[in-house]
Amino acid sequence: MSNAATFDTRTDTAIPVESPLAYSYRHSGAPRAGSSSRLQLRERAMLGHLILRGGAIVLDEAVRDVLGISLPGQPQALVQDASGERSIQWLSPDEWLVIVPGGEEFPLETQLRERLGDAHFAISDVSGGQTLLELSGEAARELLMKTVVYDVHPSNFPVGKGVTTVFAKATTILRRPSEERWELVVRRSFADYCYRWLLDAAAEYDVNVQP
């Protein structure tokens, strides 16, 4: 075993949770727009987020066995399982972001640790520290151009890509899981700033927010 401490930070569902945007919804609201909306924003809160670190060679097989997806070895690659609910994204040559349905992260970590044994790797649960915002609608790309410095043109940013880049004065992990959708992973403490930025920048598109 890796001789690291594991800790399941989740508990039974009766206990109330607050997403990183809970304050923002109260404070800035969640605009609803009708059919004129050119931009939809949806938070997918409470997912399981793991940071996986190690050499690709060390991790690859274990990840495939446990998660059923192969570890993306190419920079900026994002892979998902068939359902689209589980994904692994390349963050750096020895770092990946794994996002799974909420609650799966601890069993996944445990299985990976068992499978990896004494190899040198690290898994950190960051589920409480970030949230996932989904953008869709015809104006999504234009909104991103206002927001991130990375080139989001389809020729440079096809489906299956993901990058860490500058979001206004914060940072984000930006990914494109499908033709219609973009995903932004933002840090909890910056979430309100990011949310207010997006609402402000997207006002002209009649943004519709699904909390």
């Binding site: 900026q76 750096s92 880049t165």
Partner: protein
């Protein structure tokens, strides 16, 4: 604003994702206690500061978080190469003359409107 090829991400990225971290290839003395004050001061503070080809370290701070090296001309600002930590530059001040832009600028100062 620079457009920097991150050797780890394998693509050009905007300067805003990076932080410059000073001269590259500064090695911490292996035996600090064996250093004189002068040697330790040199390691801490004294730097190459060439007008021309310079090797510097950058970190892809908003990106892969990896440190890497950049060979850059400090007058033309042209980036001649980037290479991973632990690698050596293939372009040095000795291996190539000043670039065309640098030569132009080093001529007499002209008008700044």
């Amino acid at each position: 604003m620079f457009y920097i090829y991150c050797p780890y991400c394998g693509e050009h990225r905007e300067e805003e994702e990076f932080h410059p971290k000073g001269q590259a290839h500064i090695e911490r003395p292996k035996e600090p206690e064996a250093c004189s004050d002068e040697e330790w001061g040199d390691y801490l503070f004294f730097r190459d500061n060439p007008r021309g080809v310079h090797h510097e370290m950058w970190v892809h701070a908003v990106g892969c978080r990896k440190f890497f090296n950049v060979t850059r001309h400090t007058v033309s600002y042209e980036i001649l190469e980037t290479y991973k930590m632990g690698e050596q530059p293939s372009i040095t001040a000795d291996s190539q003359g000043p670039s065309r832009e640098a030569a132009a600028v080093s001529q007499k100062e002209g008008v700044r409107a």
